[in-house]
Amino acid sequence: MIPDRIIEQGTLTTDGARAAVEVRLPWYRALPASCIAGATLAVDGVEAPAESLRWEMNGRTFTFDELVPNTEEWWFPTDSAVLSGDIALDDAPEHKVEVSLVLYIPYIVIGDGEVLHIEERDAKTMPARKAVAA
């Protein structure tokens, strides 16, 4: 729906071992954590291992398994979440960031017991800021 907005320009940070970037909801209405079904993060073509990915939203940090049962925390359309993972960055002045997201749209029923899920991706180039490890 609004995939060009997923990656927030200029928000890439690194502590040396991990990279993090702010991401926006590519949909018009808030979705609960349970509907954030998956993500990938790659910098300069190197993808973070899935088990290293973390999702920070509303001041809390989640693994993707922890998002599954959670219907209490919501991703509001004007809020940034932070997606991070194990990727070591070199000192290049610019880095290509790629993010993909899988979201369940809980009110659009497309079949027996099944709701619509969408896969959206975005890529942007930006410098990295040094940040202390979380």
């Binding site: 018009y28 808030a30 349970s34 599954v68 359309p77 004007t78 369940y104 809980p106 017991g113 709701v115």
Partner: protein
């Protein structure tokens, strides 16, 4: 001829807008909710104001009294009239199962309560609510004094079997708090030219674009799909067309928009459910160089509403923002509302733009809360 026509009572729809039209500006943090409400009032897109709960209210459907009070004060101060709160049936909120019937009713009850608290007399619900659920929600709607208006949206249309099943149930339940929201996207007359332009900007060939338009026109000639199976077949034809012409990446987009946004039913199909239409989404996609909507028959739709005595609100719902990055939604909406006003005048009536008049007219149009009916 309907009863109201026979009695010569023309309707005078209330002008309004849904903030969904400004999704790109809100999502892009150009305006917050208060800023958008003030903009709507200042630019005269009201007086009717529709909002999507889960889009605009943080923490929805939890709304505390202090917040609701501030929101109502803002609406009063700006001279707007809250019409419909769009709510959602998140049946698939749990990853591993759908909500049970009892859970769904409670999920909707909380949102209907929020609508009442925030001062919205209508809650827009969607097709995923079954006739059984609507029947179960009727006493809840009555308790809160909120009319439930289920949205008839492409790929459905008024005479679609699922909509007629709802209409028949409404007749049986006989609650004045159950009705429909008419979405003009069910009765479109062409593939939106602004979307063709967006595909052109994405590198689609003129040959392919002509074929997309021709395929949609073929479906228009056939009329709306009889059922979900035929809908699926048409969706598949759009995907195949994109693949056969070297642009498989555009196939799903063609299908979603060609079947789910541009419904090919005829305008008079709305007469099948007309007495139950309580609210209107004036869905549209763009304005051409002549100041007209090139693919939604806005003038015919307003004429239909006026001649059949419709006195509720029309929320202008601009959906071209999905693809139109090159024009301001604010100017486009102003132009579409000018078409609505002109059409209402041509039909011998007018659009209501005065807030006080709109407020009393909407109160008379909708049922009164329980206890006030005696």
């Amino acid at each position: 001829m309907t009863l109201r026509q026979a009695q010569g009572q023309l309707g005078a729809p209330i002008q309004g807008v849904t903030l969904y039209s400004f999704t790109r500006a809100f999502h892009g943090r150009e305006y917050d909710l208060e800023g958008l409400v003030r903009k709507v009032a200042a630019e005269g897109y009201g007086p009717g104001l529709e909002i999507i709960g889960f889009s605009s209210f943080r923490g929805f459907p939890d709304v505390d009294d202090a917040y609701a009070g501030r929101f109502r004060d803002l609406v009063a101060e700006t001279g707007l009239v809250t019409t419909s709160l769009a709510i959602n049936a998140d049946i698939g909120i749990h990853r591993d199962r759908l909500l049970s019937q009892d859970e769904l009713i409670e999920y909707m009850r909380r949102q209907i309560e929020a609508a009442a608290k925030l001062g919205f007399p209508i809650a827009r619900v969607q097709i995923s609510i079954s006739p059984d659920s609507m029947e179960a929600l009727a006493p809840i709607a009555e308790r809160y004094g909120v009319t439930l208006a289920l949205e008839v949206h492409a790929d459905q249309y008024a005479s679609h079997p699922r909509i007629l099943a709802l209409r028949d149930r409404y007749e049986k339940v006989s609650s004045p708090f159950l009705g429909f929201t008419m979405d003009w996207g069910a009765t479109v007359t062409g593939f939106a030219p602004s979307l063709i332009e967006a595909y052109r900007r994405r590198g689609a060939s003129e040959d392919l674009l002509e074929k997309v338009v021709a395929l949609w026109n073929e479906f228009y000639e056939q009329g709306p799909p009889a059922d979900q199976a035929e809908h699926g077949q048409r969706f598949g034809r759009f995907i195949a067309l994109a693949a056969q012409n070297g642009r498989p990446d555009l196939g799903i987009d063609f299908g979603i928009n060609g079947t789910g946004l541009f419904g090919p039913a005829r305008v008079d199909d709305w007469l099948e459910i007309f007495p139950w239409i309580k609210h209107v989404h004036g869905k549209f996609f763009g304005i051409d160089e002549h100041g007209e909507e090139p693919s939604v028959p806005v003038r015919d739709l307003v004429k239909l509403l006026v001649e059949n005595g419709y006195n509720g609100a029309i929320s202008s719902e601009y959906e071209g923002w999905h693809w139109n990055h090159w024009q301001s939604p604010f100017e486009i909406i102003a132009a579409e509302q000018a078409v609505q006003r002109s059409a209402a005048e041509n039909a011998g009536s007018r659009m209501v733009t005065d807030a006080a008049e709109a407020r009393s007219q909407l109160a008379a149009w909708l049922p009164r809360p329980e206890g006030a009916n005696a």
